[in-house]
Symmetry: C2
Subunit: 225 residues, 2 copies
Amino acid sequence: MDMRKRIILGSASPRRKELLEQIGIEFEIVVSSKEESYQSTEPEEIVKELALMKAENVAEELARKEKGSQDLRENDCTETVLVSGGDETVGGYLRNVLILGADTIVVRDGEILGKPSDEEAAFHMLGSLQGKMHQVYTGVAMLDFNGNGERQAVCHVEETKVYVHEMTEEEIRRYLAAGESMDKAGAYGVQGKFAAYIDRIEGDYYNVVGLPVAYVYQKMKEFLL
Amino acid sequence: MDMRKRIILGSASPRRKELLEQIGIEFEIVVSSKEESYQSTEPEEIVKELALMKAENVAEELARKEKGSQDLRENDCTETVLVSGGDETVGGYLRNVLILGADTIVVRDGEILGKPSDEEAAFHMLGSLQGKMHQVYTGVAMLDFNGNGERQAVCHVEETKVYVHEMTEEEIRRYLAAGESMDKAGAYGVQGKFAAYIDRIEGDYYNVVGLPVAYVYQKMKEFLL
């Protein structure tokens, strides 16, 4: 890959960092402190919206460092590639940089499960996941700025189905005691002790960890080659 | 779980060791130096046969340590549980121990792919896997000896389908250079850089790593509780 282009991961998640490292990508991490919000109602749309917002926030942050500008955002997000000029926008200040934003949610019976607020919330969340299938959606946004500051944005959502074995209350309590639930959508980490309860998945395993690395790698190639 | 029972992993694979540790099982490793061979022709049967043979070899080794006996084997392997007496067999010398054997193979278009013999073999193996689906089968055998030396044997095969993205020759060469191919059936490790090329799986992810931990955990509970 063309390493003259800077790759920026716009996420503070240690798991996403590890996954990009795992496939051999060299990158920097820049996180925006701006809060994200969404207007979509469908999970597939929400994660794309949030992923793009994270990437846009990082682009704005980087551009502001280059030039003390304030309103540089564009907020375009489609499956197809968009090209826009680079004069008075973020692209006017960014060159040869690819920014990656991502957001992951868990959906059970159509209900969105975020990160649990406390251990009791985590207990109820796991209780509602055991013995059935749920979906994990990760939205990915890539914001690419070429050598002329031209901007291309691609958004994508990856779905993985996860089938959880039945768990007793005691097993849920014991899992909670392992301390893996907090700070994770759905209150579990597929890569830890919860492996004992995952009968089957359908889709990209790493999508459940937090980043669909095969999609990210294959799409990145298009921007970097 | 009842930790008065010794759990023995009969495998030298560092990945199987890590997976059992990941789900919090306490165990010892005992590996037999005996060669395994198989008579079955179907992949699903071969891995069960090899897994049982590994477990039997370990049981024999353990029993021999207890008493210098020579021919203690039984070789029963079914999906259902078998009970046999414990007098003049391995069980006569083993008490409160659960032995786990496992074997993993990769099957593409009905052809069994083992560990590659050298880098050229690995190159051709990966070339035949790219752009299509293949199956990973892990056979698991559990040999349980209760407090009276009574033996129960359970065998199981777990199938996971793996969909590999298209790879260029250059990508295959680069992956080989990463040094993850040798000593792995199918010449790849799902948990390393190869993640960039795995679009999707159907089944237990950890089965591809080398051990279907959800099955193992759930079945072990029956022997230990």
